[in-house]
């Protein structure tokens, strides 16, 4: 009885979350008639790949994917490279100010991206960074740093201190220890937070829309949203759904590829000596 209730809750939540995603997936394979049909066709009886083909024929969609990938990879790498040492310091040194710093980091996450963004816009214009990948890479890194630091810090805190001591007694110097002992164990956490950053950067819309106007530098979400093109009143649901699916596919592949690390990273205390 209790179990049924709980399973019911889970099912409800899953449906609630998955429904829009499924809707997009189905729409991307529907013929235009079925999309427009009244009453709504939920599960199409015939499917087409036209929307996908159109996407690549009409637009440089590969280019968009490469742009997104480049920006996402660089900003993910940057935020891990900056965040991991800071998180390690916060976790291991336990400095008296660590609570204050944590608080500060948390406060930063409070500011509405959209408004800080207007401040950034000004900076970008002054530094003439418009239509430069840096205009996206820097804000994406900055926005993700706080979360990266918070997550990695709590992971580092779970790593047994004894391992580092053992490594030092064995003769590892600090760099060797970080690379040969700590890094392999931190991999799941790095992968998990890295993927979260990557997803954010990949999907971000407003910054990408505003700072990049050159056609050949656009990212996927912007390109997809601008599919409407000529007529503003007729939304091209089919191509839009197809673009959504294609834009998401790399992320899904990424997650599947790293799924073992992600599950370890999500499952606290997975590291056992």
């Amino acid at each position: 009885m209790k179990n049924i209730l709980l399973w019911g809750a889970i099912a409800l939540v899953v449906v609630f979350c998955l429904a829009p995603v499924m809707w997009q997936l189905l729409t991307s394979f529907k013929f235009n008639q079925d999309i427009a049909a009244v009453p709504t066709v939920y599960f199409p009886t015939r499917i087409t790949l036209n929307h996908y083909i159109e996407l690549f024929n009409r637009r440089p969609f590969w280019r968009y994917i490469l742009n997104s990938a480049f920006i996402s990879i660089i900003s993910t790498t940057l935020s891990l490279a900056l965040g991991a040492p800071a998180a390690y310091a916060l976790a291991r040194l336990r400095p008296w100010g660590s609570k204050a710093i944590l608080g500060g980091i948390f406060i930063v996450t409070l500011f509405p991206g959209i408004l800080v963004f207007l401040g950034l816009l000004e900076i970008i214009q002054r530094l003439h960074l418009g239509n430069n990948y840096l205009a996206l890479i820097i804000p994406y890194t900055a926005i993700n740093l706080p979360l990266t630091i918070l997550v990695l810090r709590s992971f580092f805190q779970q790593l047994p201190k004894d391992l580092e001591d053992a490594a030092r007694v064995d003769g590892y110097n600090t760099l060797q220890m970080l690379i040969q002992i700590l890094l392999p164990m931190t991999l799941p956490a790095l992968v998990t937070t890295g993927i979260l950053t990557f997803i954010f950067a990949w999907n971000e819309f407003i910054f990408a829309l505003t700072f990049i106007t050159r056609e050949d530098m656009k990212t996927i979400p912007v390109a997809a949203a601008q599919l409407g093109g000529a007529s503003a009143f007729e939304i091209p649901y089919g191509p839009l759904a197809a673009a959504t699916i294609i834009g998401t596919l790399p992320l899904v592949l990424l997650v599947l590829f790293f799924q073992r690390q992600i599950i370890q990273g999500l499952t606290a205390g997975a590291v056992k000596g």
Partner: protein, 358 residues
């Protein structure tokens, strides 16, 4: 091969947190020194200072004639076994054993030969390709010992290596560890809170409390001649009877009975009498120093019964004495007469806690 010496070690974190206050001792080749004490007595901090994982605030650490106080842990040629084993989880057993040697650029053939040797000694041959996560507790413990042995270090440090094993396994591994490290013929420093381990393994025991060495002696002396109340109460199971008694002339008053004091210069108003339960026995007619009382609790220890006796007393506050008595009789609720053999009675000063020796 060399002598390890600690001179006036002190570790101060804050003026209120001083785990090690003033500690001096030395360990020679072939000596097995145990640092024994309750948690928070400074034993682990001391070991970590020897290993180089903490820097002492004052004092010196010497190995042979060399001052190694501030040398890096990796340069000390010491090997350490950790309580949590601290095996590298992403490396196989072989890699765990070999890691220290690889860093020292030992030739590959020699690494292989030394690892194989140690694996044979510890019965790890079949486990070399497993990851630590696939091993049982006992196997992990052996790998941790192996990782230390393979280094052929000048000093071995062991931090409660048995505490994660179950009772029967611990008894067996204890015997193994004693034999293995005796064969190394170098100084060994072992940290534990378990007095049985300290007694069985060591050639020398340092009982620590509160950042100071309370007694540094071979196990027999620690057991039979405790230097003070703390050592007397901490070592030995069941615990020694420790009774604070008032004195009258040259006697201590135990309930309605008198116990002759040792030959001390001035008789204090109070004194602590200590006697181990195993030396308290049922009185025989020729015993001079006896007490009477009623048994109120019998605990069966298998080999013996641990019998708690409330000593007959006209006084309001009853005194209770525990004795180890044979199991061939039912002791519950019996009126009993016990002997306290004078040669087994210890006396301690009430204020300082120090043993009174005549």
């Amino acid at each position: 091969m060399a002598k390890l010496e600690l001179k006036n070690l002190n570790k101060t974190y804050t003026p209120k947190v001083i785990p090690v206050k003033d500690l001096s001792l030395s360990v020679n080749d072939n000596e097995f020194l145990t640092l024994l004490g309750p948690s928070g007595c400074g034993k682990s901090t001391t070991l970590r200072m020897i290993a180089g994982l903490e820097e002492p605030t004052h004092g010196q650490i010497l190995l042979g004639s060399e001052d190694i106080t501030f040398k890096r842990p990796g340069d000390r040629n010491m090997a350490m076994v950790f309580q949590s084993y601290a095996l590298y989880p992403h490396m196989s057993v072989y890699e765990n054993l070999a890691s220290g040697l690889k860093l020292k650029k030992t030739p590959r053939a020699e690494i292989q030969q030394r690892v194989t040797e140690v694996a044979q000694l510890l019965g790890l041959e079949d486990l070399l390709h497993r990851k630590p996560g696939q091993l049982s507790g006992g196997q992990r413990q052996r790998v941790a010992v192996g990782r230390a042995l393979v280094r052929r270090a000048q000093v071995y440090l062991l931090d409660e290596p048995l505490s994660n094993l179950d009772a029967l396994l611990r008894e067996r591994v204890r015997a193994d560890i004693k034999q293995i490290f005796a064969a190394q013929k170098v100084p060994v420093v072992y940290v534990t809170h378990d007095q049985t381990e300290a007694m069985t393994l060591s050639t020398k025991v340092a009982v620590l409390n509160n950042g100071y060495v309370q007694q540094l002696d071979p196990p027999e002396r620690i057991y039979n001649n405790p230097a003070n109340l703390f050592v007397a109460g901490f070592v030995g199971s069941p615990q020694m009877n420790l009774l604070t008694l008032p004195c009258q002339e040259s006697y201590a008053i135990l309930g309605d009975f008198k116990v002759l004091l040792p030959d001390i210069q001035t008789v204090p108003p109070q004194i602590v009498l200590g006697i181990r339960p195993e030396y308290v026995r049922v009185a025989r007619p020729d015993d001079t120093q006896t007490i009477q009382g009623r048994v109120y609790l019998v605990e069966n220890l298998g080999m013996y019964n641990l019998v708690s006796v409330r000593v007959a007393s006209s006084d309001s506050e009853p005194v209770s004495v525990r004795a180890l008595l044979p199991t061939d009789q039912n002791w519950s609720d019996v009126e009993i007469s016990l002997a306290l053999p004078p040669q087994n009675v210890h006396w301690f000063d009430v204020n300082s806690g120090d043993a009174l020796r005549n």
